[in-house]
Symmetry: C2
Subunit: 366 residues, 2 copies
Amino acid sequence: MSSSNSLSVAVLPGDGIGAEVMGPCLEVIDAVTSRVGDISLSFKEVPAGAACYRDHGEALPKETLEEVRNADAILLAAMGMPDIRYPDGTEIAPQLDIRFELDLYAGVRPVRSIPGVPGPLSDPRAQALDFVLIRESTEGLFASHGKGTIEDNRIARDTMEITREVSEKLFDFSFNLARKRKAAGHEGRLTCVDKANVFTSFAFFRSIFDERAAENNDLIADYAYVDAMALNLVRNPWVYDVAVTENMFGDILSDLGAALIGGMGMAPSADVGDEHAVFQPCHGSAPDIVGSGKANPTAMFLSAGMMLEWLADKHDRPAYGKAGALLTAAVDKAFAAGNLLPFELGGESGTTDVTNAVIAAVDQVC
Amino acid sequence: MSSSNSLSVAVLPGDGIGAEVMGPCLEVIDAVTSRVGDISLSFKEVPAGAACYRDHGEALPKETLEEVRNADAILLAAMGMPDIRYPDGTEIAPQLDIRFELDLYAGVRPVRSIPGVPGPLSDPRAQALDFVLIRESTEGLFASHGKGTIEDNRIARDTMEITREVSEKLFDFSFNLARKRKAAGHEGRLTCVDKANVFTSFAFFRSIFDERAAENNDLIADYAYVDAMALNLVRNPWVYDVAVTENMFGDILSDLGAALIGGMGMAPSADVGDEHAVFQPCHGSAPDIVGSGKANPTAMFLSAGMMLEWLADKHDRPAYGKAGALLTAAVDKAFAAGNLLPFELGGESGTTDVTNAVIAAVDQVC
Ligand SMILES: CC(C)[C@H](C(=O)O)[C@@H](O)C(=O)O
Ligand SMILES: CC(C)[C@H](C(=O)O)[C@@H](O)C(=O)O
């Protein structure tokens, strides 16, 4: 990591529409950072993904992993292509390997409505959602990635693993986020989502949650079973503040959360560890729309906003936080007028339209 | 099982509001069967559940299991109470044990809108949902029920198991249902929901699905990853016909499905095996509303309707099918008028109101 004044960002456009949203994202970052000033970011693009695997035989080359480890932050667009697979038929998803390699245990997936973007729920309260799902991202069922077995073509097994060490860090991270949100006017509540009524590993997960809740008793701690949570996220998602869960459950629930705010193209994410962090839109490489100009760059932009805020906290550099807040405000402003509607929401605003509107909005919200 | 003309039903009211919805359900069954005629059902109530465990030390007494095995069908209301648990802290859920003991591999969970019951989605197409989720109900992650481990208070594990034997039966069952629905005007499509991009056991699951799809090529077979499915069920649930998935995923997605049609009180289910079947509302024992008269018996009624139709098919007795269809039509009729709104949906129609309206509707739809 850089010890100089400049902070370095490893840039992984990846596959499919990845490059199509990454380019505009770097423009938007430039627009906000040059406005705020006192910011010095250097960007280095590195290869990874399905096309990289096809062309070089490696989905996550050693040099890329090295660059990623040495960078102050990682900006990732999209990876994987349905037609390019490992010999065993599974898809190429180096984003999983990065999460494991860099111990990015906290997958932060905000579910925040953007005024002007239509959501699927009819209740007016659903137009102002603002909660965060935290998906553990290095173990749980995904501990079995690459390790599942098939016996005699008769029975297949994958083993879910939940460790005390990671769970403690995950819950502390989550309580800290809830505390930060409480200071900003939210409820200050953390909901543990599990299936502790049926599984030993989830009873273990919940017991560690209870221990950490006792240490964080300035905050409200409660629980939900994952099945009830899926129902609640449709029926009354506005009651949540921060919710934390296992990797596989978080994968499912965060897509459900993205659906509530306009789909994957609107949903940013951060995979955060003690040292490193990856910032990435929730959407995939969308091979069906590559080259059409239809890709929605919003989630990529909002992920960059999260990156700037994370860099501000980590390196105690308020200017980066200002830039992150400005980026998010510009996205909100661009959609608030109500004449921007991405293709995936039935509109006709393409990548360029959204990008131009956001860059124009930077001036307006300054 | 009875070889005489009469068919026997084991009745398990279970815990909490279980008895409050079971009583009315038996009344409704009586109303439809006596209308149709040529039906002879005998009912025998047997104990199981959390209160049974508290009072007799067993959640599923041997005699109950025996009765359940000998019955032609099993009608179950709700089981489990948060305050009564096994020594290890997990909840009492003999419904899981029954699924395992009787090999009830196909958990059938219809997601059908009832006109007059408000749903959460604003798109008008969501007012006419009619698809079926099939949750494998004897293995998957639940194979680990009671078998999870904790090592040194440091790492906990639960192992998901997917077998060829059960998967083949599950897919054949699901294709047959899709075929039956096709004959009734539906698309004739089965969607396999998995996470085959990441896990060996789901790649195995999908490969068996492909084999069975080749044998059922009069029907459309396609796939969805479970995370995308969670999003799609919110954004465009009307595109599905029949979807089939693993036990844990099905638990989550079927609650999401219930949310789309008015909540757990509106969602019936059937757990079906080659020999036996349990019919049960998706809701739990709801201790918070016991004794208030607020319990919504609709899902219990609709489950009984599924039971009558299943008995008709299994024993080739069309009168039972007529009674099942009549029961479902009476529920629809009762809600169609629009002046019935259960408490969980913000209304004031209690157990008795719904029951009386459905019984009155039996006469109207005859
Ligand atoms: C592409 C896939 C492996 C990945 C995951 O399951 O984690 C994606 O769904 C995500 O949520 O980042
Ligand atoms: C009560 C619980 C054990 C059960 C399950 O997880 O199967 C319930 O959620 C269900 O869906 O029937």
